[in-house]
Symmetry: C2
C-alpha cells in the first residue's frame, strides 16, 4: 500500500525543478526497472510495483535490500506519467557527476540542438545504444534526460549512453572536433557523400538548427526525398535514425 505522502513525493518528481533539487527521478516499466535491478541497483531508492512484479523479482529485491512496496494497478495509474501504466515504478538517484565525465571516444556522435519532444529524445538514446554511440551531446534547451517520458522511451538505454549538456562551441573545442555535420534541408545528398567520423548536429523539431550553431557546421547533409513528395520534412528522431544508419553502413560495414 502506498501512502498519500509517497504519492505526493512521486508526483513532485514529474517536474524538473523538483528532480534537480532532490537529485531523484522516476523510472517506469518492466524493461527499465528490470535493467535497473540487474545492473544499477544502487540507483534505486524505492520501488513501487504490482505483486506479480515483486514476486518475479523477489530474489533481486532481497539480495539488494531494496525497499519495495506492493501496489495495485489503480494506484500505479495515480503516480505514472504514462497513459497505460506498466507494472513497476522506481524512484532513482541521478547519475554521479564523475559518471558523466568525458570518456569520449569520438567516432561519430550527435549534438542535439534543442530537441524538445521527450519521445524523440528517448528514442534517439535507444538508437544511439543500438549503433554503439557511447555519448550524446545536447544543448541546454534540449529536453531533460530525467523526464520520466524520456527515461521510458529509452527502454533502458539511458543506463549505457552518456548524455552531456554543453554548448556546441564548447563541445567542438573540448573534443577537438574537425568535422561538424549538420542535418539541413538543402545540404549534400547523404547517400552520395563520403561520410566519416565527426559530430552530427540535429536541429529542433520545428525550427531546425539555430543560427549560431549553423555557422559551426562544416558539412551540410540532407536526406533526399522522392520527387513527388509533398512532405516538407521528416520527424527529427526519424531523420536521426536514417542519418545514423547511413554513417554506420558507410563506416562500419
Amino acid at each position: 500500500m502506498i501512502s498519500k505522502n509517497q504519492i505526493k513525493q512521486i508526483q513532485t518528481l514529474h517536474l524538473k525543478k523538483n528532480r534537480d533539487a532532490e537529485r531523484l527521478f522516476l523510472a517506469e516499466g518492466i524493461k527499465t526497472v528490470t535493467e535497473l535491478l540487474l545492473h544499477r541497483t544502487e540507483m534505486i531508492k524505492a520501488l513501487f510495483a504490482t505483486p506479480a512484479f515483486i514476486d518475479e523479482n523477489a530474489g533481486l529485491i532481497a539480495k539488494n535490500n531494496i525497499e519495495a512496496t506492493s501496489i495495485s494497478e489503480i494506484e500505479l495509474k495515480k503516480i505514472s506519467v504514462q497513459t497505460t501504466p506498466n507494472s513497476a515504478l522506481a524512484i532513482c538517484s541521478f547519475f554521479k557527476e564523475q559518471e558523466l565525465a568525458y570518456n569520449f571516444d569520438l567516432k561519430y556522435s550527435f549534438y542535439l540542438d534543442d530537441i524538445r519532444d521527450p519521445g524523440n529524445f528517448g528514442t534517439i538514446i535507444r538508437l544511439a545504444d543500438w549503433y554503439g554511440i557511447s555519448t550524446i551531446f545536447c544543448s541546454n534547451s534540449t529536453c531533460d534526460l530525467y523526464n520520466p517520458k524520456v527515461i521510458q522511451a529509452t527502454m533502458g538505454a539511458f543506463l549505457r549512453v552518456k548524455i552531456i549538456y554543453l554548448p556546441l562551441p564548447d563541445v567542438i573545442k573540448n573534443y577537438k572536433i574537425k568535422t561538424v555535420y549538420g542535418a539541413v534541408l538543402n545540404g549534400k545528398n547523404i547517400y552520395k557523400e563520403k561520410l566519416n567520423n565527426g559530430l552530427i548536429v540535429i536541429g529542433n523539431e520545428a525550427n531546425g538548427i539555430n543560427e549560431e550553431n549553423l555557422k559551426l557546421i562544416t558539412q551540410s547533409l540532407t536526406i533526399p526525398s522522392h520527387q513527388a513528395s509533398g512532405t516538407e520534412s521528416l520527424n527529427a528522431a526519424m531523420a536521426t535514425a536514417i542519418i545514423t544508419s547511413e554513417f554506420f553502413r558507410q563506416t562500419r560495414m
Copy 2:
C-alpha cells in the same frame, strides 16, 4: 465562441466507434489544417481556430464557404487531444470509399502488422510520403488512421498516402506480390542484402510480426546493431525509417 454541444460533439470524436458512426474525424494543428484548406477543403465540415489563424486564412475560408468559429486557446485546450494545443482544429469527413481504392503501383511498400502507437503510425505515414511510397497496408489491429494523434503526427501526409486495412494474405494475393520482406531480429544484414521491389512487413512494437504472417515472409531482414549494444530492439517507427532509407538508397539512388 464554441457551444457546449459543439465541445461535446468534438469530444465524442476522440473515440473510434463514434468516428466510424458519423464518418467524421478531427484534424489539428496549423500545418494540417492549412493543408486541408489548400487542397481538400471539401473534407472540412467545421473549423475552430484562434482569431489569428482565421484572419490569416480569411481568403481561403471565405472562398470555400467554410463555417469557421473563432475560439480562445483555453477553449481549444478543452477540445484538443494534444498536450500543447495548436491554433486550429477541423472536423472533417472521412475519405470516400473510391479514394481508398486500389491504385497500387508496387515498387516497395509497407505492411504494418499491429502497430499500436498513434505516434509511430503517424510518423510512418509521414516517412512514406517523404520517400514516395503511395500506399501503406495495415492489419485490422493496427491503429485507426483517423485517431487524432495519428492525423497530427502525419503532418498532412495522410492526405497523400493511402492507408488500406487488409489481412496480409489478401494483400499478397490481390497484388500478386512475390517478395515479402520481414523485419525481424535474426534475418539477413539489410546493408549487405540486395534489396528489390516488394512488400516490407513491420511487426508490433512489443511482439514483432505475428506467427501466421511470419510464415508468409520470403526474405527476413535485420538491421545489425553494434556489437557492444545492450539494446534489444529499435523503436518500430525508427526501424521502419532505417529500412525504408536503405531500400530507397539501393533502388533509387
